[in-house]
Amino acid sequence: MIATSLSSVLLREEVSAPLELLHAPNMDAATLKVRNLNVHIGEQSILRDVHVHIPSHKITCIIGPSGCGKSTLLKTFNRLLETQPGARITGELLLNGENIYREGVEVIDVRKRMGLLSQRPCPLPMSVYENIAFGCRLHGTRGRRKVMRKVVHYLQATGLWDEVRDRLHTPASRLSIGQQQRLCLARGLAVEPEIILADEATSALDPISSRIIEDLFLRLRQQYTIIMVTHTLSQAVRIADHVIFMYLGRVVEEGPASEVLHHPKHKLTQEYLSGSFS
């Protein structure tokens, strides 16, 4: 109850406040370089010889047909894939020049710095409020008021606030899928990672909600590096600065959006973009 009344106070304070990030602007967002990455699960080879360079302060879109390894690639970025039994990962992943697969690197730090938003929204078995507060508390936000501030802030940022303000303390599993997707986005942002890995973050959303998320990403670009998987080419055209096209576990083409999307060099890319994929 206290939390609820607090939220209404905060709402009044913040309703017209401009949306900015709560943490100090990080002017040098992270860069990510992938060198010679190979991933096998069991006997199957999932990613082969992946070399990419993700620029900072840019939105990088990963496109490619279903099953080509986009989600797997994102999961190697935050070292989630290694929890998969039978997964073998070789190669180098340099986050600001430091290999995150090096011996002695703390996995939970990597996961905190690389916020992964999974393809299927998966709320934790808690209330809407707790879903976001959980991550905040993990990383040292203490005090009811501070946590509440963050929760409200990120719910507003993802355009979910008006829909859930009256049911912050109901189970998150009762939200619709699209609401859950935005909740997971808010939850991931509330951890304040350095790189956002968004796996089809708008797949369950209507065009208007999708635009809200796209606008959010465009704004977040000033402080973050964003990597986003999308099947919606028009979305890539709208927001991508940098594009990676994958096919059957390989990176076929990579470069600035203007080149890859409008003047693709590779034949597979041309076919995929023109929709004449066999």
């Binding site: 935050n78 929890t83 996961r111 999974s118 934790l124 078995p125 993990l138 189970p171 599993s173 991931g188």
Partner: protein, 302 residues
């Protein structure tokens, strides 16, 4: 009839059939309970149920039938068993499903299946050979002047060890129903395995953990042979862990042969069975209600 109506008919028939089967199962309980009641009626006619349940004197020859020693014996033994078994099983279950490599997990779960297949009498014999002397020589001397080792503690230990395999497999089952995606989303937020286990896996398994525990307790309440072999079988209300006790199942099993010899004795033993059944039913009902509460409080499933 067209195809749709055939299918609708079949669906209804299946529904009706399942309803009948369910009713039959419920009827069975009623049949057993009423059978016991009829047999126990002579003694219920003599003295009130309350005085039987709270009476502490058991002297069949003089016609005194007080069940309190047996009821408290059952509760002591089961209580000790669950207090000992629950933490061990929970930690083992968590280790096996969250931390252990899959090879260890597979071996451990098959070993547990073998363990739960061992006949109770073997556990009882082991209790007599190992647990009872251990208690008598190593534990009791620190607390009392003399104990034979045959005590509610020994019975609780043996019973606790017997239900550990059951509890661990049930917990393993419960944890395996938590989707990997939920774990992954907690891990992706930077939670450690332990934080994930505590806040996500355990939390969403709470109803399952509870239900598994209830099942194990119900099983423990009725366990007869192994307990009877090590609990001492002295008619008294145990006042400490090292006192001997006499649980209800042991009462029934030990005296089954001589039922007919004394007036009211047969009825008394039937009442003992009825009381045991009553304890199990009351316990299960209460836990069902509690489970609903837990479920509603955390609203774990939509």
């Amino acid at each position: 009839m067209n195809r749709t109506s055939v299918r609708v008919f079949l669906s209804r028939a299946a529904g009706g059939y399942m309803f009948l089967a369910t009713m039959l199962a419920l009827m069975l309980l009623l049949v057993i309970a009423s059978g016991l009641f009829v047999k126990a009626y002579p003694i219920l006619k003599q003295s009130s149920l309350w005085s039987l349940l709270t009476g502490a004197v058991w002297a069949p020859i003089r016609g005194f039938f007080g069940f309190l020693p047996f009821i408290s014996g059952t509760l002591w033994v089961t209580g000790i068993a669950i207090v000992l078994a629950l933490p061990v099983s929970l930690l083992t279950g968590i280790y096996l499903s969250e931390y252990a490599p899959s090879s260890v997990r597979k071996i451990a779960f098959s070993a547990l299946d073998i363990l739960s297949g061992i006949p109770p009498v073997v556990y009882g014999a082991w209790g007599v050979l190992v647990v009872v002397p251990f208690i008598a020589e190593w534990v009791a001397p620190y607390f009392v002047e003399y104990s034979s080792g045959y005590s509610v503690l020994s019975a609780g230990i043996v019973l606790g060890i017997m239900i550990i395999p059951l509890l661990v497999s049930l917990f393993g089952e419960v944890f395996s129903t938590v989707p990997k995606e939920i774990r992954d989303s907690a891990l992706s937020l930077g939670a450690t395995s332990w934080q994930t286990t505590k806040k996500v896996v355990l939390k969403s398994s709470l109803p399952g953990i509870f239900a598994a525990t209830v099942l194990a307790i119900s099983r423990a309440l009725g366990e007869t042979i192994a307990v009877l072999m090590v609990c001492g079988n002295v008619v008294q209300i145990p006042a400490s862990l090292l006192d001997a006790g006499y649980p209800l199942p042991a009462l029934i099993a030990n005296n089954y042969g001589e039922m007919a010899s004394l007036p009211g004795y047969e009825a008394a033993l039937m009442l003992a069975a009825l009381i045991l059944l009553g304890i199990v039913i009351v316990f299960n009902t209460l836990s069902r209600i509690l489970l609903l509460r837990i479920g509603r409080k955390y609203a774990l499933q939509p």
